[in-house]
Amino acid sequence: MSRKRHVRDIDDLEDRPLLEVENLKTYFQTGHGIVKSVDGVSFDLERGRTLAIVGESGSGKTVLSRSVMGLLPPQNVIREGRVRFGDVDLTNASPQELRGLWGAQISMVFQDPVTSLNPVVRAGRQITESLRYHLAMSRQDAKETAISLFRSVGIPEPENRMQWYPHQFSGGMCQRIVIAAAIACGPKLLLADEPTTGLDVTVSAQILDLLNRLQQERYMSVIIVTHDLGVVTGRSDDVIVMYAGQVVERAPTTTLFRDARMPYTEALLKSAPRLSNPSHTRLHTIPGNPPNPANLPKGCRFAPRCPYVQPKCREEEPPLRQAEAPRHWYACWYPVGTPEGVRALEENQAAGVPAAMGVV
């Protein structure tokens, strides 16, 4: 009996990035009005590169990653903009076409590994089902492939562990299984939504190293979503900083760490725990809360919490502007490290603006 493959093959377009997201908007219609979770996000990603999406909790990272993939349930969702993946327009793809891509060409690793695995299905089956469905492998081939996947994500005694149920594994091991399931069919793009939140520091570093290794071995493009800038140091090529559903800064990782322009990025950098710091170092937290995406402020969305805030910020929304460094973009009227920015901060400190007082 010959089985049918369920894969939508894609062609890379010449000279174009693998993934291009253009002005993507994702709104939810709720009883409390329209929630603008993702509000005009654009970026692109080359084959084999890693992009980090960073922002506080609630800034729309999860919605963005699911929206890129087309994974949001259709009810109450308004999705605009364009997502191109290879030669496929994901925003116009049929459900059938999407299914041929999901798990086969685009995969996702979720935030909570323990709840992302089906508690009543053996670990091995959760890997082999994609192999059998997408790649039409025989039972035996799928089993052998799953064992070697288990081995490559660092699960000891893979033959034996295939038979285990998720609750028999630790959180870190569960995340390895989720990763094995995600890469099983050899996707070109892997989205990881806070893959290490909830894992302890050592395990979390191991998981990130594993993702990095797999990415290089398999020449995948990876989008790694996190609320912790410390996580992405040295592991991603580019960083996007998100605030209230928008991109507020975008830059190659080294540029961003050296030369952040957006006050929000600066605040995030200060709040990032460094592995080198002794664990009792007090973390700088950003005062205040992100705005309610159902009721966004006028002007810059960060203005109410910004140490640099000026009257203009509360009136006009700053567009994404190009900085001097290549591929560095930011959205701010009074950028950090520029004469206007320095003046704005000094004025605010002199005037005793609360948001400016914590900044040294």
Partner: protein, 319 residues
């Protein structure tokens, strides 16, 4: 399951059985009437004395109970009162009918309720969900003693699609098709009450399951809705249904009594009613105990099913 758990479980069952038989015997022996009088009918006092001695009627409660229990465990179950014959013979003829009725009715209920519940859960509060929920809700207000006669009237008399009451029924081993053909309407009578219960519970659990992260992950794997529903969502959604299914066995017995009456099937329910009307106390006692034991067994089976369905329970039991 570890040895300790098994031992505890067995002890529990023994205690329950003792209590069940004790309570049954106690209450039925308090019923008005005298078994010996029923057996002897118009026969004289000599007969009364002889039968009374056989039934230990002149003994105190506990020896009488132990004597009765002895009959129960020897498998002869003693003699029925009217007519006098071994109760075991009666049971042998009637229990397969009731067992089949209960199983068949539950299969019908599951086959109808599961797809309804699944489809409703996939699109909750949409037209199909509202209609199926309303329809099953309507059946909740239709007790078996109404459904049974209605089904019999419409489908054996008005539209003679099914054999009428009292048709000869070969055992399922001999002629399964004919057997199921006769059993269908009585089983449906009992099933109607279960469909609504199963549909609603499964729908609610299924809606909750479909919100789980592992369902999002299954979708992200590109699996079809069909696979996600059957391979990932169904099993974790069945806990409530199973628990309630176990408790429901009582109402199934009531359903069986009515179904057997309406369609003239000589199952346990039919025999129970007959024994009650004849004041045949020994038969009533035995059938009552059998129902209670069926209830215990059913819940034991369900406990076991939990461990099959949910590996986490399996581990909780062993540690």
């Amino acid at each position: 399951m570890s040895k300790l758990v098994v031992v505890r479980r067995v002890l529990e069952i023994i205690v329950t059985l003792v209590l069940v038989t004790l309570v049954t015997f106690f209450f039925t022996s308090k019923l008005p009437g005298n078994e010996a009088a029923v057996i002897c009918g118009p026969a004289g006092p000599a007969c009364l004395a002889k039968e009374g001695a056989l039934l230990y009627l002149n003994h105190p409660f506990f020896p009488r109970y132990l004597h009765w229990l002895g009959n129960l465990f020897s498998g002869t179950f003693g003699l029925s009162a009217a007519p006098t014959e071994p109760i075991a013979t009666l049971l042998k003829q009637s229990y397969p009918i009731t067992l089949e009725l209960v199983i068949f009715s539950q299969l019908i209920a599951i086959v109808v309720a599961v797809p309804l519940a699944m489809y409703s859960a996939v699109r909750p509060n949409k037209v199909f969900d509202r209609m199926s929920t309303a329809a099953t809700f309507a059946t909740l207000s239709l007790p078996a003693f109404i459904v049974g006669p209605l089904l019999r009237y419409f489908f054996t008399v008005k539209l003679p699609w099914f054999p009428g009451a009292g048709s000869t029924m070969p055992s399922i081993g001999v002629n399964p098709a004919q057997n199921l053909y006769v059993m269908f309407l009585p089983s449906l009578t009992i099933a109607v009450g279960s469909i609504a219960v199963y549909q609603r519970l499964l729908r609610a659990d299924m809606i909750a399951t479909l919100e789980e992260d592992f369902i999002v992950m299954a979708r992200a794997k590109g699996l079809t809705t069909w696979r996600i529903l059957f391979r990932h969502a169904l099993r974790p959604s069945t806990f409530t249904v199973m628990t309630v299914g176990g408790v429901q066995i009582g109402s199934l017995i009531v359903g069986a009594i009515i179904g057997e009456q309406v369609f003239g099937l000589t199952g346990l329910g039919y025999q129970l009613v007959l024994a009650v009307t004849k004041a045949d106390l020994p038969t009533v006692q035995i059938i009552t105990v059998i129902v209670a034991v069926a209830y215990i067994l059913m819940n034991l089976i369900i406990d076991f099913l939990y461990t099959v369905i949910d590996p986490r329970v399996r581990r909780a039991r062993t540690t």
